[in-house]
């Protein structure tokens, strides 16, 4: 057994057992805290639509109240920018960010919520976790411990990438505020001014979406978004692996096993599937029809040769008689021709 001079525990076996217990405890608590697999029923119904509506309106209502109060604070309109900035500084960026973070009614199907719940649970333990992650694995449980360490690393990576993404979104919120002020500055002429809270809100949405589109089409966003999604998937994949191992130990079928079976079934279906089976049935029916016609034709020939009154036993065909070659099946292959330049 390898020993480390800086090893904090006297007996490494005891350390390994304690660390495995800590990981197991971490997983079971994380699993309990994850959003349950909510039924999809009602997802597309009126109830779900009302929920989405209320979710979207929560921030608008708060914004309305704030802006209503701000407009009262600057009755002469000449200090609109001060009252305005104060109202938006406290309120504007957050609803925009919330539009990203909250996915109504997504349940466990939304990986962001799924991993976020785990992240929130484990965040206080990050420092002590990092220490565990850096230790080498030993003994019978080394594979399991390594997997757990990989998951810990992946979770930390995801946290970093998610933070980058959210910082980018926060920047969009700030830029939207500035863009709105630019748009307002263009509307100072009488008759062109904003005369209702709703008009102000719509103008803010225009500004926010304009800025968002510029940022979302940038190379920076593309890189950050891709990094976040990839990091999220790594975490999810490693968690799924842990769940599979536990399921396997309990004698339950796993997703990987079902996927393997499904893959084999689909390959078999391609070889012998609906299309080819149907074609075989049609060819068989055609062959039967031709055979029946041949037999009829032979009986008629035999009857004619015997002439009227003569009784002749029709010779039974042996089946070895050369059958008429079936008409060639219409080829489904595309005729070859040179592609157009």
């Amino acid at each position: 057994m390898v020993t480390h001079a800086s090893q904090p525990f006297g007996d490494y076996r005891e350390f390994a057992e304690q660390s495995m217990s800590a990981w197991k405890s971490l997983w079971s608590q994380a699993l309990e805290s994850m959003p349950g697999a909510q039924a999809a029923s009602g997802r597309a119904g009126t109830g779900a639509a009302v929920e989405r509506m209320l979710q979207g309106l929560k921030d608008y209502c708060a914004w309305l109240e704030t802006m209503g109060a701000a407009s009262s604070a600057a009755p002469d309109g000449l200090r609109w920018d001060q009252a305005f900035s104060k109202a938006f500084a406290g309120n504007l960026g957050e609803p925009f960010m919330r539009a990203f973070r909250e996915v109504p009614d997504a349940g466990i199907a939304n990986p962001e919520q799924w991993v976020e719940s785990f992240r929130r649970f484990a965040a206080p333990m990050q420092q002590s976790l990092q220490g565990l992650l850096d230790l080498p694995a030993f003994g019978l449980a080394r594979e399991h411990q390594e997997q757990a360490q990989r998951l810990g690393d992946a979770w930390i990576e995801y946290g970093e990438q998610a933070t980058r993404y959210q910082k980018l979104i926060a920047r969009v919120g700030r830029l939207a505020s500035e863009r709105l002020q630019d748009k307002l500055a263009e509307r100072e002429a009488p008759g062109n001014q904003v005369d209702s809270l709703r008009a102000l809100y719509d103008l803010w949405v225009d500004a926010a979406e304009d800025v968002y589109a510029e940022v979302a089409l940038s190379d920076e966003f593309r890189e950050v978004y891709g990094a976040m999604v990839n990091a999220q998937m790594r975490v999810r994949q490693l968690v799924q692996k842990q769940i599979e191992e536990s399921s396997s130990q309990l004698g339950l079928p796993t997703r990987s096993e079902i996927d393997s079976l499904g893959r084999r079934v689909q390959e078999l279906r391609r070889q012998n599937g609906a299309g080819s089976m149907q074609a075989m049935r049609e060819e068989l029916a055609q062959l039967r029809a031709e055979l029946a016609e041949l037999r009829d034709s032979q009986r008629r020939s035999t009857a004619r040769a015997a002439g009227p009154g003569k009784k002749t036993v029709a010779k039974r065909t042996t089946g070895k008689t050369a059958a008429k070659k079936p008409a060639a099946r219409k080829s489904s292959a595309k005729p070859q021709r040179a592609p157009r330049p």
Binding site: R43, T46, A48, A49, V50, G56, L57, C61, L64, S71, S72, P75, G77, W80, F84, F96, A99, F100, D105, G107, A109, N110, L184, E186, E188, A189, Q193, V194, D195, S196, L197, Y201, A208, E209, Y212, L217, F221, R222, E223, Y225, G226, A227, V229, N230, M233, Q240, R255, D259, R263, Q266, E267, R270, G273, A274, Q278, S332, K334, P335, P339, R340
Partner: protein, 356 residues
């Protein structure tokens, strides 16, 4: 100097109070709305395979067109945007013009469909549906109408099976996936699609919908519902809104392997216009799309930018190509009032001139 804000404080508080009143009374109206349904035109299932159902629609009169139309919709939504409600139905309006209309409902994939590939969809399901329609009408070739991703499928199909397609119509169909304004495509470029599909298996519909919402996050998550409050006192408008909501969010999961290839080859690789897409071992060469083509695109489409569609003219082999620009968005091209008047008539007139 004038202030851009001319908000009377008293009116502002009245506005807040009025909004609250509408919301409070409107919630009661919402509770009165029953289940909303889409897919209003009578139809008959004429073929089933796995989760797929091929429907033939029944108009008020017998069709007069010589060649039926088969609609191939995208996999990412149910196809009933083309038959959303009585006064917003491309199908109903085509039937009224005398067309004979079939539609593929791909169904809702589950774990059993995890390994379906683009070959299974295009050379399998779609080809067999085309054969069913051909056989029912005793025709060698039929008219094919592809919508969005279904349009991309239809282009691939027409290139591989040109002998079965008489006329091809594509609607809001992406062809060049790397135009600078294509936000969805932009976001896929750094994705590890293999990791994504290997992890998720089938791609959940909720995740797809969340992605679409983040294309216009404030408009689609918030402003839309602010607008809803204004119509809460109108039962008919509420029902229309809720029907659209249902269609938007009642989406199928995406079969993993088909999704993998579509994102890698079309979105990331932009292989369709490069002639590098392979479906079932056969290369898709758009030069073999030599039948008449009508390409309809929407000028304010944020999902399939017009530039992504317009380029089709540069890649197909057909000498008979018509482009039709529609003033509207990706969904408006089916459901707006103008769409009901313009689009079915344009399709019918174009087909009639080409032997219907």
């Amino acid at each position: 100097m004038f202030s851009p804000l001319r908000i009377d404080p008293v009116k502002a508080m009245q506005e807040v109070a009025e909004f609250r009143r509408k919301l409070a009374s409107g919630l009661g109206s919402l509770q009165q709305v029953g289940d909303v349904q889409f897919g209003v035109t009578p139809r008959e299932a004429v073929y089933r395979e796995d989760k797929l159902v091929l429907y033939r629609f029944k108009g008020e009169r017998k069709p007069t067109a010589k060649t039926p139309i088969l609609i191939c919709y995208a996999l990412v939504n149910t196809p009933y945007m083309v038959d959303l409600q009585e006064n917003r139905s491309l199908v109903k309006n085509l039937l009224a013009q005398g067309e004979d209309v079939y539609l593929i409902d791909w169904g809702y994939p589950d774990g059993a469909d995890r390994w379906l590939t683009l070959d299974d969809y295009i050379n399998g399901y779609l080809d067999r549906c085309v054969d069913v329609v051909r056989k029912r009408h005793g025709l060698d070739r039929i008219n094919l109408l592809g919508i969005c991703q279904g349009g991309a499928f239809s282009l691939c199909y027409s290139a591989l099976h040109a002998d079965k397609v008489k006329n091809l119509i594509t609607m809001v169909t992406p062809v060049d996936f790397h135009t600078p304004d294509n936000m969805l495509s932009h976001w896929t470029r750094e994705l590890d699609v293999d990791l994504f599909v290997d992890t998720l298996g089938n791609i959940p519909a909720d995740l797809m919908n969340w992605c679409y919402l983040t294309l216009k996050p404030v408009r689609l998550n918030q402003q839309k519902y602010v607008g809803l409050v204004d119509i809460l006192d109108n039962p008919a408008e509420i029902e229309d809104f809720l029907r659209m909501e249902k269609w938007i969010f009642d989406s199928p999961d995406q079969a993993g392997e088909a999704f993998r290839q579509f994102i890698k080859d079309f979105y990331q690789g932009n292989k369709l216009i490069k002639g590098e897409v392979e479906i079932g071992g056969h290369v898709v060469d758009l030069g073999f799309v030599d039948m008449p083509v009508l390409n309809i695109y929407a000028e304010q489409d944020h999902l399939v930018p017009p530039a992504a569609s317009r380029v089709l003219a540069d890649y197909i082999g057909s000498d008979d190509y018509t482009a039709l620009a529609f003033r509207g968005g990706h969904i408006g091209i089916y459901v707006s009032g103008r769409a009901q008047r313009e689009v079915p008539a344009a399709i019918h007139d174009w087909l009639r001139k080409r032997g219907g």
